[in-house]
């Protein structure tokens, strides 16, 4: 199986969020996704990066965000890991519940799940890892590799 992989270690800043989104846009476009799918993948990555920078690492300059893109024959797999205390999944409300509709936050994970084919969230005491999977429909991993 042919694989292409890109890995980054980034600071806990808003610039990291922008950079993660831009890199995801480029990688998804290079993987052959159409414009709408590229936008959805990039938004999912942006939301995951926001969670890592803000809620995971709390903008702590000593903590890093690890971003990894992997393209196989079948999937684009993106992993975002922070060094926080671990996301408490029980505290994430359903943003579609009537009592939460008018809340100003809490939609990030929902949007990620809406835009990706698979989402795996693994919180631990040393940080949270979120793995995003998008199927490559009819694509070939022998295509152009993303430029780092």
């Amino acid at each position: 199986m042919t694989k292409h992989r890109l890995s980054y270690t980034l600071d806990s800043t808003l610039e990291t969020v922008e950079s993660a989104e831009q890199t995801a846009t480029r990688v998804a476009a290079d993987a052959g996704f159409d414009e709408d799918e590229v936008m959805r993948i990039a938004m999912a990555v942006r939301e995951a990066a926001v969670n890592a920078v803000l809620h995971g690492n709390g903008y702590d300059p000593a903590k890093k965000v690890m971003l990894n893109f992997e393209r196989t024959n079948d999937d684009l797999v993106i992993t975002i890991r922070d060094q926080g205390h671990g996301l408490d999944m029980s505290k994430i409300p359903d943003p579609l519940a009537p009592e939460n509709l008018l809340k100003s936050s809490g939609r990030g994970i929902f949007l990620i799940r809406s835009f990706m084919d698979e989402v795996h969230i693994q919180p631990s005491q040393t940080g949270t890892e979120i793995k995003l999977v998008k199927r490559v429909h009819g694509g070939s991993a022998d295509g152009k590799e993303a430029t780092p």
Binding site: L102, K103, R107, G108
Partner: protein, 114 residues
């Protein structure tokens, strides 16, 4: 492209012509500040023209909700005008499309405040 807002008055309604991105950080803050300043000045009929907004993230969606609820709490009204497909789709999947009063014609939108 960061967010930009220009303001104009039409028949007692304040129209905010927004362009760029409403995202975590600057974009969200610009929107919040503009709406807060209008409400503080007693300009409580607010129409957000989002026709040139090409991107919005979950923070931006939250900021729209905050603007809407803040206006309502202060006896005002905030409506949305000219949603792009991207913003429209996001409001649909977050079930907010029916919460906001969304218009696609400016003259009719202005009239609807009175």
């Amino acid at each position: 492209m960061s967010m930009k807002i220009s303001t104009r008055q039409v028949d007692g309604v304040t129209i905010l012509d927004c362009s760029g991105r409403i995202t975590l950080g600057e974009g969200s803050i610009i929107l919040r500040d503009n709406v807060s300043q209008l409400l503080a000045k007693g300009q409580k009929k607010i129409l957000l023209n989002l026709g040139e907004i090409n991107y919005i993230d979950s923070s931006g969606i939250g900021e729209l909700v905050t603007a809407f609820t803040t206006a309502r709490k202060q006896g005002g009204e905030l409506k949305l005008l000219n949603l792009t497909k991207k913003v429209h789709d996001l409001l649909q999947i977050t079930k907010l499309y029916t919460v906001f009063d969304v218009k696609d014609d400016e003259a009719a939108a202005v009239k609807s405040f009175n």
